[in-house]
Structures are given as structure tokens and as C-alpha cells.
Amino acid sequence: MESLLAPSFVSGLAALAAGGAVCPPGLLLPTAAVNFHSLLFFLFAALACGFALGVVISDNVVRMALYLVFSLAATAGLFFLSGAEFVGAMQLMIYVGGTLVLLVFGVMLTAQAPFIEIRASASDRTLAAVAGASLLGLLLTAALSVDAWNAPGAGVIPDPSATPLGMAMVGLRVDDPPANAPVAGRAGYLLPFEIVSVHLLVVLVGAAYLARAKRRRTPRPIEALASAVAPASPPAAAARSGSSSALVGGTR
């Protein structure tokens, strides 16, 4: 029963966080001791950073994919908190729901026992840690050196609406220009939108072409490997003639 308690606690926490989104982001509480927006921000920020570190530290590629899913979902929460609701939903739909499902698919197709865990050498780890730490230090120094970014936010948000985004996509800007904008005129995004859609089409065709099933006379190296590894028993032979024999994952 103990093993059950921990995950249910986690899901309860997620439920609490989800229910906590009841607090509209813009509404500042007059009598509040705790700024709920900040509290939720720190929750989601901790989740995003923690799972991102999990991706780096973990050696198991399937767990890496899972941590990446959680990290990106927490980032979507951060998008919602900053008032970019459409971007947040887009992140959930395309990034988490589309791209990462694809990625997990790829992980499973290639998740043969020797490749699930490829450990980097200790020297590589040290190098990565040093380089990462110095890069983080550089980025933080740069970010903290600008005074305008260090001030706490004003805490006022207009009602977020997806309409200006959609109108900008078809080339008409209806949003109010941001305060203190250096230039008055702003461009629509019709041309980038069209370019991206054509680009996506090209990628769709290209990816389908690259990953298509080819008929070949000689067995593929992966099939040769499978037949070399598998013991000569009827079930193994049957599995070998199927799509792949060593798809069964899991590590202990």
C-alpha cells in the first residue's frame, strides 16, 4: 500500500495545482498574504527545472522521454500563468501531444536492450557539468545585469484573447501596441504563416519518404543482428519474422 500512496500523493498535488488554476492570473488579491500567481509559478518552475535536470541525469532513454514530457507540460503551465493561453494550449497540443508522442514512438522502435542505457563516460560527464555550469552562470549573469528585467511585474493583465493572434496570422494587427514601443507600425504574419505551412508540408512528405519501408534483398543489419542474437526456438523465429523481435523493454 505504501507504494501506492506516493504516486497518488503526486497526482493529488497535480490535481491541487490544476484546481489552483482557478485563480485568474491577473487578479491580485487585496488581502492576500500569499500571491497565488507566484506560488503556482514556483510550483511549475520547480517541476519544469527538476524534470529538465532529470532528462540530463537519467541514462534510460524511456525515462528521459517521460521526464521531457513532464518538463514541457510544466512549461505549458508557465505559459498559461504568463497570460499566453493560446501558446500554452499549442504547446500541449503540438509539442507534448504531437512531437513527443512521435519521439516516444521513435524511442520504442529503437529501444533494444543495448541502446536503452548508453552511459556516458565519467570524463564526458565532468566536461558536461563544467560546461553547463559555466553556461548557466553566463546566462544568469547576463539576465541579472539588466535592471529593467529585475523589477517585479506590474501584476495587471488584460483579458487574454486568441482573436488578435488569429488576426495577426492572417495579416491584420488588431492588438494594442505595447507600451513604450519604439516603432509604431507592426507587420502581420501572413507570409511567415504561409511559409511555415508549406514548410510543414515539405517536411511531411520528406519524413514519410525517409522513413518509408524499403524492399531489399539482403536483410537489414538490424535483422541480421536479431537473428544472430535470438536463440533458435520456434517462438523466437516467429517473432523474428514479425516486425521486430526485441521490442520488449524494461530494465531492472
Binding site: 507566484s38 529538465a52 521513435g106 560546461a131 553547463g132 506590474a154 505595447p178 522513413a211
Partner: protein
């Protein structure tokens, strides 16, 4: 490593109770920096091609977070300048292009796997002289 200006800037942030203050751009920038660094470290460290791909996703995500933070009027200080809608637009395009990039990279990885029976990028050295 962070030098003097950094510690001087970070002190007032630590002095205030973070839970009662509204968050600002800098909070998002810090999270974005952590995601970015994690992605770079992932790309350096992983030998699995898909692990490298995950690192790229993290890097793009960290950058996206910065765009959205700069675009959000909520996070700006009084009289601060926000990117407005343009930041959100760029974030949207980054998400779309990341999807395209992931599809192509995955197709390449699967092809590599089919031809070499491995996904270890260190073993993609056929052209080595």
C-alpha cells in the same frame, strides 16, 4: 564565477518574500536559462541520437519561455516595454518548426538505425578517414 554585479543584483531578490511578490521577467529568464543549459548538457552528454534530439527540444523550450516572458504584459514592471503579441507569435512559430525538425530528425534516426543497427551517434563514423 558570477562576479560582483550578479550577486549585487540577486540580493534584493532574496530579501523580498518571493511568495508575496508578483513574479517578474527575471523569474522566467532564470527558468529559461536552466532549461536551456539542461538542453545543452543533454546534447553534449547523450550518445543516444534520440537523447540528443530531446536536448534540442529542451533548448528550444527554454528560448520559447524567454519569448513568452518578454511578450507578457503581466510580467513587465510599470512602464516597462513588452514585446506584445510578436513574442507569442515567435513562440508559436518555434513550436511549429520544432515539430517539423523532430519529424525529420526522427526519420533520419530511424534510417540510421535501420542501416547501422544502432542509435549511438558515436558510431556514425563511416566517413572517418
Amino acid at each position: 564565477m558570477n562576479g560582483l554585479p550578479c550577486t549585487a543584483a540577486i540580493l534584493p531578490l532574496l530579501a523580498a518574500n518571493p511568495l508575496t511578490e508578483p513574479v517578474g521577467v527575471i523569474h522566467y529568464l532564470v527558468v529559461g536559462a536552466v532549461l536551456f543549459t539542461a538542453g545543452i548538457a543533454c546534447m553534449m552528454l547523450k550518445r543516444n541520437a534520440l537523447g540528443v534530439l530531446m536536448g534540442i527540444e529542451l533548448v528550444l523550450n527554454g528560448a520559447n519561455l524567454n519569448f513568452v516572458a518578454f511578450a507578457s504584459p503581466y510580467l513587465q514592471a510599470e512602464g516597462g516595454m513588452s514585446l506584445g503579441l510578436d513574442g507569442q507569435m515567435i513562440a508559436l512559430f518555434v513550436i511549429l518548426l520544432a515539430a517539423a525538425e523532430a519529424a525529420v530528425a526522427l526519420a533520419i534516426t530511424l534510417n540510421f538505425y535501420n542501416n547501422h543497427a544502432t542509435v549511438d551517434v558515436d558510431r556514425a563514423d563511416d566517413l572517418k578517414g
